[in-house]
């Protein structure tokens, strides 16, 4: 089941399955390696619409909530401490 990055729980790993429409949005996402098939870990939750913080490859990226709502992922691990590889 796919959920948006905004909905994904903190400390969860997901694989990007769909990016919102718009060439500019997708180009922007690609610039920081947000691509279909990429594993990302959500490490910071949003309070009062503050940005979400995620880990992609070895990098932390802050992403606005509006954008986070347009990134859809398949959750592959609810708790990465259980022996699965981390994103970092």
């Amino acid at each position: 089941m796919m959920i948006s990055l905004a909905e994904m729980k903190i400390n969860t790993i997901g694989v990007i399955r769909q990016l919102g429409e718009g060439a500019q949005f997708q180009a922007k996402m690609n610039s920081l390696n947000f691509r279909i098939g990429k594993r990302i870990k959500k490490i910071g939750k949003s309070i009062l619409n503050s940005p979400v913080v995620v880990e992609v490859d070895n990098t932390l990226v802050a992403i606005g909530m509006g954008m986070a709502r347009k990134i859809f992922l398949e959750v592959v691990d609810e708790d990465p401490a259980h022996g699965q590889p981390e994103c970092r």
């Binding site: 180009a27 690609n30 910071g44 503050s50 490859d57 802050a62 992403i63 606005g64």
Partner: protein
């Protein structure tokens, strides 16, 4: 021959540039430090070549003004030194592929090589060389490692034939390279990573940010005041002052020349002499604060704290039509409005740039002005200094909120890489501090001297009196200030620190000092910032921004005057 230093943002291009050329450029641990290009010279096998530090980009399709500058530069390059973050190879390879498709000979600097092991990454350099077919040199730019090898390999730069790829094809190729070249092993969070996480989460990050900012303010003030009281004041009043007065008296015992050079008071802020006030204000009062501010800012920048502050400030910045990254322009503006104004280039839209620039001019006093405000207003208690800053912050929030509502469009969302925390490299920190202090001295001392000379000339021919009379109704009736503050406002266009200093001989009440200090911040930018903004915003937007500043200055001055308890 032209050599371009290119690569993703925050991979250490400016540090490599500085190492290659010996030029002094400012580099920091956050993306977007370089917003224009810097040129230098380098000798390669007996031939002189031009080397250009290009702003960082992720791909060759520009998303901001700084990106446009970078892409434009590409047409002029004979050789590219492609700086790649070794800890972030996959992402860096996208730009690498795009650059290789252009057919410009390339040498690749694999920077931050020392961090690779810390992050549990294994890279097979030989395989990477086989894939890319260009010289690849591992470097640790901040420590100077690998720089000699890099220079030695520039002449061997190669341009293997790479056909034009589609977006998807590029990523497929990159995927193959990464599979063969890179192995990431699992490891636990380091201490710095745990601090990094804590400083990003709103519930821990916000209290931490308040604590850090208060601590920074306390250190800057302590260092600044200590330098003034224990070094600068004793030097100016006990050593330099008596000596220069004696010397000038020998040549001009009294009269106009004596007044122009020394002035007519023993207080070096009041005297308005070229050799007294002209040197005491920039060196005795402002320099200690410039030194302490840039020391602390340098540490915050190199540690990598500012992008975290940008994330935490994002929600509130959206209320004023900006996104979190604009807080970096404001923090830089607290040192000097010029780099603050230049840094607005990384903001994506014209609307954002307009709001950021207007707010920067209206509510961000530079450190030179702050030093004078702390010196003058602080005599009545720190509470009044905080009052000035509180009023300026409130003006910024209200003006920003109104602009956000009135201007068409919305503010783009933050989408920003947050660099890892790094322990600052002492050598790099000192070098950056030296560059900034000398930049201040280069710019400030001549302008302060010119400002004081103009004051003396205008005073002597009666122009100041005339302007004061014309502007008197606003100054006296609306702001409750004596008409003599008007000359300070005229000089404020040249240097705001001199303008605040000109309030000293007027012996204003604390209410008047708070009003005048606030107005002097708000009403107009200094000449250096004005011309930068004119270039960045264009004439039309600059006129609009200036009208807003004047309107806000008249209103806020009146409000403080009428509402003061």
């Amino acid at each position: 021959m032209k050599i371009l230093l290119m690569g993703n943002p925050n991979v250490g291009k400016s540090v490599i540039f500085s190492r290659l050329t010996g030029a002094h450029v400012v580099s920091s641990n956050y993306p977007g430090t370089t917003v224009g290009f810097t040129k230098g010279r380098i000798w390669i096998e007996g031939n002189e070549a031009e080397i250009i530090d290009v702003p960082g980009i992720y791909r060759l399709e520009p998303l901001s003004r700084a990106d446009e500058v970078a892409v434009k530069m590409l047409a002029e390059g004979d050789i590219i030194i492609n700086v790649v973050d070794a800890t972030n190879l996959e992402r860096s390879l996208y730009l690498t592929m795009q650059l290789m498709e252009r057919g410009i000979p390339m040498v690749l600097a694999l920077n931050m090589w020392d961090d690779v092991k810390h992050k549990g990454i294994n890279l097979d350099l030989e395989k990477l060389r086989e894939f890319l077919q260009v010289p690849i040199i591992p470097t640790v730019a901040v420590a100077g490692e690998g720089i000699k090898e890099l220079v030695a390999h520039i002449s061997q730069a190669r341009a293997p034939h790479v056909r034009q790829h589609s977006d998807e094809e590029r990523w497929v190729d990159i995927g193959k390279i990464i599979m063969d070249v890179q192995l990431i092993t699992h490891r636990h969070h380091t201490f710095l990573e745990k601090i990094s996480d804590a400083s990003l989460m709103p519930h821990t990050g916000i209290p931490l940010a308040i604590l850090i900012l208060l601590l920074c303010f306390a250190i800057i003030r302590f260092l600044g005041e200590s330098l003034i009281h224990y070094v600068m004041d004793p030097f100016f009043y006990r050593v330099y002052g008596p000596w220069i007065i004696r010397l000038v008296k020998i040549a001009f015992p009294s009269g106009m020349m004596y007044n122009i050079l020394i002035g007519n008071s023993t207080n070096f802020i009041e005297s308005l002499g070229l050799l007294t006030t002209g040197l005491y204000v920039p060196l005795g009062m402002v320099l200690p604060y410039i030194f302490s501010f840039y020391l602390i800012l340098g540490i915050l920048e190199d540690v990598g704290y500012l992008p975290r502050l940008a994330v935490l400030a994002d929600t509130i910045m959206h209320r004023v039509g900006l996104h979190g990254f604009a807080i970096i322009s404001i923090v830089l503006g607290l040192g000097c409005n010029v780099p603050g104004a230049l840094s607005t280039r990384v903001l994506e839209t014209r609307r954002e740039k307009f709001i950021a620039s207007t707010l920067l001019c209206i509510s961000v006093p530079c450190m030179a002005q702050s030093a004078m405000i702390i010196g003058l207003v602080g005599r009545y208690g720190l509470v009044y200094v905080f009052l000035v800053y509180g009023i300026l912050m409130a003006i910024g929030i209200v003006t920003g909120t109104i602009l956000d509502k009135v201007l068409k469009g919305g503010s783009p969302e933050i989408f920003m890489e947050i660099p890892s925390y790094h322990v600052p490299h002492l050598g790099a920190l000192i070098k950056k501090l030296r560059v900034r202090v000398f930049e201040f001295l280069d710019e400030a001392v001549p302008l302060v001297l010119l400002g004081i000379f103009i004051i003396n000339v205008l005073n002597a021919i009666g122009v100041m009196k005339f302007i004061s009379l014309v502007a008197a109704p606003v100054a006296t009736k609306v702001w409750g200030l004596p008409q003599e503050v008007v000359p300070a406002m005229i000089i404020g266009f040249l240097r705001k620190d001199v303008a605040v200093g000109m309030l000293e001989p007027l012996h204003l009440s604390v209410k008047q000092l708070v009003t005048a200090s606030t107005i002097l911040t708000v009403y107009f930018p200094c000449v250096a910032t004005f011309f930068i903004l004119l270039k960045e915003l264009g004439l039309k937007d600059m006129i609009k921004a200036s009208l807003i500043m004047v309107a806000v200055a008249i209103t806020i001055g009146g409000m403080i005057n009428f509402l003061w308890w």
